[in-house]
């Protein structure tokens, strides 16, 4: 069970956060700030009905996508600049599957609804 810690890290028993840790913590703070801002914007748009109809739904949709991207970047540390791309490819492939299944289901059900109820 002994981690690799014992050997290489005991030398400088870490009591103070390193500058590396401060950068990581700042990244999480950025994520929190951005996510809070995007959340407040989305709720504000919906509650105060700044504009309405499809434009409103498009706006809150874009805000949600932006927040997902922000959380991927700052909380999950997944971005476009990584040397290893498997994780990003897995996410994009999952996105494609979701697009086909969800988009297809909604298309079929909406069409059915129109034909049977319309």
């Amino acid at each position: 069970m002994s981690g690799p810690w014992e050997g290489e890290h005991q030398g400088h028993a870490i009591t103070q956060p390193s500058s590396d840790a401060k950068a990581e913590a700042r990244s999480y703070l950025w994520g929190l700030g951005l996510a809070a801002l995007l959340t407040a914007l989305a709720f504000g748009l919906a509650v105060f009905k700044i504009f309405s109809g499809p434009a409103l739904f498009a706006a809150i949709g874009v805000l949600a996508l932006a927040q997902i991207a922000a959380q991927f970047r700052f909380f999950l540390h997944i971005d476009l600049s990584r040397q290893k791309r498997e994780d990003l490819q897995l996410i994009l492939f999952t996105g494609l599957l979701i697009l086909i299944m969800v988009g297809g289901s909604l298309w079929i059900m909406a069409s059915l609804d129109q034909r049977m109820m319309g």
């Binding site: 981690g3 810690w5 840790a21 950068a23 909380f75 540390h77 897995l90």
Partner: protein
């Protein structure tokens, strides 16, 4: 952002412990694959909800039922818990056990608070006669929300288990690796919640 190599999603325990990275790379990728499966499950629940949202069978609609203030508080609680887990991950990376336990504890309290808020919301809805049996809309609403809530509950149990393991084993390699994966799980649940408030609560209050 640092230019260090990222081997896997979530916080990387850094270059100083290469065997950690090799171990984490494979297990984290496997866990990430599971999470993407879970994402598809949620996506199809969203598709079901979108199909059913206007099928109220004469019962109440979302616009009549939902309390947007409560949804906003739930959103903030879950977002803060995602952040506090991140701070715990920074402490983990530094090998600082006490801050790690503290942040995990904060995350646990926020997670349980979220579940409490959700249960209170459900109780309020059921008190108004809006049960899962009322309409297709409410059936799909309860299924979507409680599957997410159950995930949060599982995350809370997982946090308790990890707190016990940190106390018992210290920050061994296995324990660190498990906390990494718990972190991915926890952040993922907040991602799902973004889609929930965007597709369930906001359209209801805006219409």
């Amino acid at each position: 952002m640092t230019t260090e190599m990222r081997h896997h999603p979530g916080i990387n325990l850094s270059h100083s412990r290469p065997e950690d990275e090799r171990h984490a790379e494979v297990t984290v990728f496997g866990f990430w694959t599971f999470l993407m499966n879970d994402a598809i499950l949620f996506a199809l629940l969203f598709a079901t909800y979108a199909t059913m949202v206007n099928r109220t069978a004469g019962g109440p609609t979302g616009a009549e039922l939902f309390d947007i203030g409560n949804a906003f508080v739930e959103t903030l609680v879950l977002l803060l818990s995602s952040f506090s887990f991140g701070m715990g991950a920074v402490a983990l990376k530094e090998g600082r056990e006490h801050p790690l336990k503290l942040w995990l504890g904060v995350t646990l309290v926020l997670g349980l608070g979220f579940i409490g808020l959700e249960l209170r919301e459900f109780a309020g809805l059921i008190g108004q006669g809006a049960t899962a049996q009322t309409s297709g809309f409410l059936s799909s609403f309860y299924v979507l929300l409680s599957i997410h809530g159950l995930h949060v509950l599982v995350g809370c149990i997982w946090i308790v288990v990890m707190l016990a393991q940190v106390s018992t084993f210290g920050l061994s390699r296995q324990v660190r690796s498990r906390i990494l994966r718990l972190g991915l799980f926890w952040h993922f649940l907040d991602l799902v919640w973004i889609v929930i408030f965007t597709t369930v609560y906001l359209p209801a209050v805006a219409s």
